[in-house]
């Protein structure tokens, strides 16, 4: 802590501001790392469903406990986000509704439910309920040092988990049939990946809000994919991109008053993606334009 205070003094910031910035950086990094597998598994928008589904959870946690403390609200958000994932699985299993429509249903209805709950609380003048609205578009203004520490711990844990199980997550995401035959518990690994995405979506709520937080788990991995053909490198880059965009977004919204954090974080990530899209060495638009044709299937040695 003393070192943090020293650094804060050096930068001319309050140590709380610095701690919040560190927390956002950790969240951005972890969201980027965890998001890699949801992008690779082609589940980018499942995270969006989870994100919108956090709102009713936040509101209900507030109603049930009467507390507006971040840990309580985030637990509510995780519960309802994971429940929405379960709901998607059930809809796929027991109804004829196709995946895309089911995802859209969860997004629209759970967001509406969250809005109705929060507006109802605000209209009744329930003390503290006004603070719930910051979960819509993100605001780091009211984060306490304890909240920031919680977010750092969750982020480091998630990153650590992915780092520990890269091998398992890779084989399941690349070739589930082979992984199942080799005895890996494909369903459980998949479930863990989805659940971790839900957790990171929730941890990203203070930074980006329910409507935009999905960008934190989608854009950095997609940008990272442009630069490399290796999962390990992609994870590191996605973490770095997430970290940079979170810090840039938080800084921008701190400098310009009245600007919500979420949109700034997303725009920073989008800028990184745009650079990656154009400049990446082999997949980038520039590289592709300069190289007349990429040999997709090179001739085999001594082949016909």
């Amino acid at each position: 802590m003393t070192m943090l205070t020293a650094v804060a003094d050096l930068l001319g910031l309050s140590s709380n501001t610095l701690l919040v910035a560190v927390a956002m950086a950790a969240v951005g990094m972890a969201a980027g790392v965890v998001g890699c597998f949801s992008v690779l598994r082609r589940r980018a928008l499942i995270g969006d469903a989870a994100a919108h589904a956090t709102l009713p959870g936040v509101a209900l946690a507030f109603v049930i406990t009467g507390s507006r403390g971040l840990p309580v609200l985030l637990i509510g958000a995780v519960v309802s986000a994971v429940a929405s994932m379960g709901l998607l699985v059930l809809l796929r299993r027991f109804t004829r509704t196709r995946d895309d429509a089911a995802t859209a249903i969860v997004i629209g209805v759970s967001f509406g439910m969250g809005v109705a709950l929060i507006s109802g609380l605000v209209a009744r003048g329930v003390p503290g309920s006004g603070g719930l609205e910051r979960f819509l578009l993100g605001s780091t203004a009211s984060l306490s040092a304890a909240d920031a520490r919680l977010l750092v711990i969750v982020s480091l844990l998630s990153t650590g988990l992915v780092a520990a199980f890269v091998k398992e997550a890779t084989v399941v995401s690349f070739d589930p049939g082979f992984a199942a035959a080799a005895g890996w518990p494909v369903w459980w690994i998949d479930f863990a990946l989805v659940a971790m995405t839900a957790v990171m979506v929730v941890a990203g709520l203070p930074a980006a809000g329910a409507v935009l937080v999905t960008a934190l788990v989608v854009i950095p991995p997609v940008a990272a994919r442009q630069w490399t053909d290796r999962v390990g490198v992609m994870l590191v880059l996605a973490g770095a991109f997430g970290l940079v965009s979170a810090v840039a977004g938080v800084a921008a919204s701190a400098v310009v008053p009245g600007l919500a954090t979420g949109p700034m974080v997303v725009l920073a990530a989008a800028a990184l993606f745009a650079v990656s899209l154009v400049c990446a060495p082999s997949r980038g638009l520039l590289a592709m334009a300069l190289r007349p044709r990429m040999p997709l299937a090179p001739p085999e040695r001594g082949g016909p």
């Binding site: 509406g112 609205e133 989608v218 009245g258």
Partner: protein, 431 residues
């Protein structure tokens, strides 16, 4: 009657405020449901979701240029943003080889963020509440009116009505093309139908509907109004015209009930409309013709039939070899319950012997069993001791026609006609 009077009072109170708000919600919901039906059957729900978010910067630019949030300039901006979304998503899929959902995820979050940032940056010059972006201001809609002959009509209602009429007119004129494209876009393109134009038109319509509903429900909740009615209707009916009709009906019903409930509960109307749509969908999941209730009862009925048939067949086999009936039927409690029920229905006589009616039924079960053993023995070449368990299962699924087909087919094989199964037991004839 007092209920009806209450409703009328509610609708006409304070200059018809509730009536107009409800009517506005109903027309924009109906328009969204029509467009959404096509999105859902074409599996484009997520594109609809993406566009409804991504039109925000277009609306904001339209407003900055002097338009109103629901006006023509905003509409133009929104359509431009929708086309930009689709173009960008295609670019990302083609050039960056992103999957469809990742491309949509990148594009719509970026554009929505740009819209919100633009809105905050120009907060002093634009009169759009950020809350309006997220969940609309249906309660305020009745206060912004235009003079139409003798009536003061809310602007948003008029706009919604125009959009609904426009959507219906375009759908009417291009019905055959829409139907063909919805069924199979590639095949439609091959036979020279303008499939691409149909798709682009659908995406533009999504943008227009989003603008029309913007003031009422905002740019996020509109996805519920686009997708949920159609997805619900899809569970209930099979053809596209009916699907659209049912979707519109559900949309209007949810809009009205959602608004009324929201007013009673003092909460946001758009959110409550989405909740009502969700309730409708959940109900359809339960009560649809092949919904969970129907399937649950069907599997219970099947299980019950299997237990009853097993009890009857057991009695028949005991009769065949002249053995005494077992003290209690197979299948434990369910078997005992079945025996009681069969006695009541006159299939079993008191004491457990078969009645004439029950004997007929039992004989067909045993016939199915032994025919299947014989068929398996010949065509699947299972060892003799593997034949019984499959037949125990399949005996409950063979109908009269199939039994005769199996018998006839086997009569033509070299082994000759069948009178006995592989274990040597007689196969009873068809009754």
């Amino acid at each position: 009657m007092s209920g009806l009077r209450g409703v009328i009072e509610f609708l006409t109170a304070s200059g018809g405020m509730h009536g107009w708000a409800m009517a506005t919600a109903a027309v924009v919901s109906a328009a969204a449901a029509v467009v959404g039906s096509l999105l859902v059957v074409r599996r484009m729900s997520l594109i609809g979701d993406a566009i409804s978010h991504a039109v925000l910067p277009g609306i904001v630019v339209g407003v900055l240029l002097g338009g109103r949030p629901g006006g023509p300039l905003a509409t133009l901006g929104a359509v431009a943003a929708a086309l930009l979304t689709v173009w960008l998503a295609e670019l990302l899929r083609g050039k960056a080889r992103l999957s469809e959902d990742a491309a949509a995820g990148v594009v719509f979050t970026t554009l929505f963020a740009a819209g919100v940032a633009l809105l905050s940056a120009a907060a002093s010059r634009v009169d759009v509440d950020p809350g309006c972006v997220l969940y609309g201001m249906l309660e305020l809609v009745p206060f912004d009116t235009v003079e139409l002959a003798w009536l003061e009509v809310p602007r948003a209602f008029l706009g919604g009505l125009l959009v609904l009429a426009g959507v219906l007119a375009v759908l009417w004129l291009s019905w055959r093309q829409q139907l063909a494209t919805a069924f199979d876009a590639d095949a439609a393109a091959v036979v020279g139908l303008p499939a691409k134009a149909m798709t682009t038109g659908l995406l533009c319509a999504t943008a227009v509907v989003t603008v029309a509903s913007f003031e009422a429900v905002g740019a996020v909740i509109v996805v519920a109004m686009l997708v949920v009615p159609a997805a619900t209707a899809e569970l209930l009916v099979a053809t596209l015209p009916r699907l659209i009709l049912v979707a519109v009906g559900l949309a209007v019903a949810s809009a009205c009930s959602g608004y009324a409930v929201a007013w009673q509960a003092e909460t946001n109307a758009a959110g409550m409309i989405a909740v009502m749509l969700g309730v409708g969908y959940a109900a359809a999941v339960l009560i649809a013709p092949d919904g969970m209730l129907a399937r649950g009862t069907a599997s219970l009925r099947l299980a019950w039939r299997v237990v009853c048939e097993d009890v009857l067949a057991e009695a028949w086999r005991a009769e065949e070899v002249g053995a005494a009936l077992p003290a209690s039927p197979r299948g434990g409690l369910a078997g005992m319950l079945a025996a009681w029920w069969l006695t009541r229905r006159g299939r079993l006589l008191p004491g457990g012997r078969l009645s004439e009616q029950g004997r007929g039924q039992a004989e067909m079960v045993v016939r199915s069993h032994r025919l299947w053993e014989t068929w398996l023995g010949r065509h699947v070449r299972l060892p003799l001791d593997h034949l019984h368990p499959p037949a125990e299962w399949i005996e409950h699924y063979l109908g009269a026609e199939m039994r005769q087909r199996l018998e006839a087919e086997m009569a033509h094989t070299p082994a000759g006609s069948v009178a006995a199964d592989p274990h040597g037991s007689t196969i009873p004839p068809e009754r």
